[in-house]
């Protein structure tokens, strides 16, 4: 019998209610830094596909702040009552609007802000494209500021100790490779289509019923290596980079992945979902921990991605992990998760899309940070070495039909970026916003003073992330003012 992935989930979802784990395996941290003495760094790029509008998230404007009520009626502002500002926080957020119906979220941004405001930074940005695919790619490559390398590629080039230093579970422009042909092969993204089954792709034979034992498989591999040296094909195409890439992976990467037992560490299929024992497999020893934080880990694709992202960092596999919302409707056993087309559902209903999707995204980020904070590293935790960059395509138009609460919006270059990290000088919104247009503007990079005449571009965000991660490149903007 063969099932589609969806059918597989449906057929087994009912069993995924309570979980138990077998005895855990030891976590074996790997080197995360490229140079001796470099502190480990973890970059999580969270793809908020479709246009996460910062003024609907962590930079809202209240109706009362607009110069006139009539003008406020035409802008995507919020009643004062739904804007929250926790004690001690310099940031504000739009609270959960209690949207019901087909699209809903049970997460409140105020929860996130209360927990993490000290690590949160909002930076204004004026993007350079309103085309989804183009804008998404520019959000991760700084519009080409670093020879076209994506942030994750740049990160994986420096912090390259992991087996797969750059793992990408996202979609669309967020999985586009950079444009730097000189990028080391190891820094290229390992694309992961399905977090649930990724683990089986980290071992050549385990889990295949009837597979010969390890020693025999190694004999066969050794024979294959001999064949490569003996064959006319090998001699004729000894200069082939493609062939050499495959041989290198067979010789180095495959044994390393298998030795790390990632087929266990990264296995997020619980035995309740499918009986792994007949296949000689077992769930990750951290699965309980994941499910405690992500109750819908097995059925919500975003939680599933976030969970695997944590494991990839936790087990030292990756230093840069990308995941996020997809345009494809994401369904769980509970029904639809978020809105179809993610933030781009704003075309149809801006308020619903933004509130539901901001909640959905930050719920996943909250879980990720919780897991990182619970993972010891040195004298602190992994979170001390991490940065979350909520990357999005662009902002949305800020106008609405006068007085209407349900309306659609288009794409807009103006926006702001959310970054969360103890490595940043947090609890701060940089730059400013005009309450009569809801357009953000930049600031003096030397003094931090807001300046409506300054626009920050994708390259500034790119530079900031790189500086926080200890990655330098020619031509980067000096964003050190924003670092902790």
């Amino acid at each position: 019998m063969s099932l589609t992935r969806r059918g597989f989930l449906r057929s087994t979802a009912a069993a995924a209610t309570t979980l138990s784990l077998p005895g855990g395996l030891e976590i074996v941290p790997r080197a995360h830094a490229g140079g001796a003495g470099d502190p480990p760094r973890f970059l999580f790029v969270v793809a908020a596909s479709g246009g996460a509008n910062i003024v609907d998230g962590f930079w809202p404007v209240a109706q009362s702040e607009v110069s006139s009520a009539a003008l406020a009626d035409t802008l995507t502002v919020f009643p004062d009552a739904v804007i929250a500002q926790p004690a001690g926080s310099n940031l504000r957020c739009v609270t959960n609007l209690g949207i019901t119906g087909l699209f809903t979220t049970d997460y409140d941004l105020n929860t996130f802000l209360t927990k993490y405001y000290q690590d949160m930074v909002v930076v204004p940005v004026e993007n350079t494209s309103v085309n989804h695919a183009i804008a998404q790619k520019r959000a991760i490559n700084g519009a080409g500021i670093n020879r076209g390398r994506t942030l994750m590629e740049a990160m994986a080039t420096v912090h390259d100790g992991g087996l797969l230093p750059n793992c990408n579970l996202a979609t669309g422009g967020f999985i586009e490779p950079g444009d730097d042909e000189s990028l080391p092969a190891r820094a290229r993204a390992e694309l992961i289509a399905d977090p649930l089954t990724f683990a089986v792709g980290t071992h050549g034979t385990r889990g295949l019923p009837g597979a010969p034992g390890e020693a025999l498989v190694q004999r066969a591999r050794a024979a294959r290596a001999e064949l490569e040296g003996a064959s006319a094909h090998g001699q004729r195409y000894g200069h082939s980079a493609l062939r050499q890439r495959l041989l290198d992976l067979q010789a180095d990467t495959v044994p390393a992945l298998e030795a790390a037992d990632l087929i266990t560490s990264l296995m997020i299929v619980p035995e309740e979902l499918i009986d792994l024992a007949p296949f000689g497999l077992q769930p990750s020893p951290l699965l309980d921990e994941l499910q405690a934080v992500f109750p819908r880990l097995l059925t919500d694709p975003l939680q599933m991605q976030a969970g695997l992202s944590f494991l990839l960092a936790r087990y030292g596999v990756a230093s840069a992990v990308t995941f996020g919302a997809r345009f494809t409707p994401e369904t769980s056993a509970d029904g639809l998760e978020g809105t179809p087309l993610a933030f781009d559902f704003s075309h149809t209903d801006h308020v619903v899309a933004q509130n539901v999707m901001w909640g959905r995204m930050m719920n996943a980020v909250d879980g990720l940070i919780t897991l990182l904070q619970g993972a010891p590293m040195g004298e602190g935790t992994m979170w001390d070495h991490s940065l979350v960059y909520v990357a999005t395509d662009f902002g949305r138009t800020r106008q609405r039909p006068a007085g209407q609460g349900s309306f659609g919006t288009g794409h807009h270059l103006n926006n702001g970026a959310l970054l969360v990290s103890p490595l940043l000088d947090g609890n701060r919104v940089w730059g400013g916003i005009d309450p009569d247009t809801l357009l953000t503007y930049g600031f003096d990079l030397r003094t931090g003073d807001p300046d409506p005449g300054i626009l920050l571009r994708e390259g500034h965000i790119y530079s900031l992330v790189c500086q926080a991660m200890g990655v330098s490149f020619d031509g980067q903007h000096d964003m050190s003012l924003l670092l902790a």
């Binding site: 589609t4 290229r188 792709g201 034979t205 094909h233 493609l242």
Partner: protein, 250 residues
């Protein structure tokens, strides 16, 4: 559902002569010019005026490595490095998902449902779609496949080949053999020097790589018959040959 996004699926029904080419080649061959002007010479040499030295060499290279053997010109010196020394493009193509799986099924006489599944239910071609070089336009919006093998590509290949080999061995051991016809899969252990082993290796090479093995290759694979059961030997031999770079490229 609101507004204009609402819809339904109701509407869905669920020679030009070769000469011109070569003339173009010659006409467009760049920039071997007379001193007098910038026009392409359009001459018959088919060679270029590019510098005779390597890219790292700087100015004032007058060149001394003209390679008239690579040109059909009129004997005038051409100041370019020999074409035979030019870098060649990648000579191999990656046999991606469709071709790789089809060749495996063709070689081992397996149906799509038989070739490989993960945890008993998920088709390997779906689970390992990206590492095996296919794109996924509809849900991942990955409109073009990855340009080069991913780090996990060899593992995906191994799993698919191993599963297929196991299946073929099991089918042949349990009924009229289709592929493992030279050896008795249910018999006693084989000796690497058995003629049947050599014949079986030849059969596998013909099926998996469409060629005969060399004696050296036979010797390498035959060694797998040592201290293994016939079924293990069959599986391992199939796996070793089927996961070579020769099987993965074309």
């Amino acid at each position: 559902m609101t507004g204009s996004m609402t819809g339904s699926m109701d509407g869905r029904a669920t020679t030009f002569t070769a000469a011109l080419a070569w003339v173009s080649l010659l006409l467009l061959a760049p920039a071997c010019r007379d001193d007098g002007g910038p026009q392409a010479d359009g001459g018959s040499s088919g060679t270029t005026s590019a510098a005779p030295s390597g890219p790292s060499d700087s100015a004032d290279s007058t060149g001394s490595t003209a390679d008239t053997g690579d040109s059909s010109d009129d004997g005038e010196p051409a100041e370019c490095a020999p074409a035979s020394e030019a870098p060649v493009p990648e000579p191999l193509l990656w046999k991606r998902l469709d071709g790789f799986e089809a060749d495996l099924r063709q070689a081992l006489v397996l149906t799509p449902a038989e070739v490989c599944t993960e945890v008993g239910v998920l088709p390997c071609r779906d689970v390992h779609r990206l590492p095996l070089g296919a794109n996924e336009a509809f849900n991942l919006n990955l409109y073009r496949p990855v340009a080069e093998p991913l780090a996990t590509t060899p593992i995906a290949m191994e799993r698919m080949v191993m599963a297929a080999c196991i299946r073929r061995v099991a089918l042949d051991a349990g009924g009229a053999p289709e592929v493992f016809t030279a050896i008795d899969l249910n018999g006693p252990g084989l000796d690497p020097s058995d003629e049947a082993v050599e014949e079986q290796i030849s059969l596998l090479y013909r099926r998996l790589l469409s060629r005969e093995p060399t004696s050296e290759e036979v010797e390498i694979i035959a060694a797998l018959a040592q201290d293994t059961t016939p079924q293990q030997f069959g599986t391992l031999a199939c796996f070793a040959i089927g996961t070579t770079t020769e099987a993965a490229t074309f």
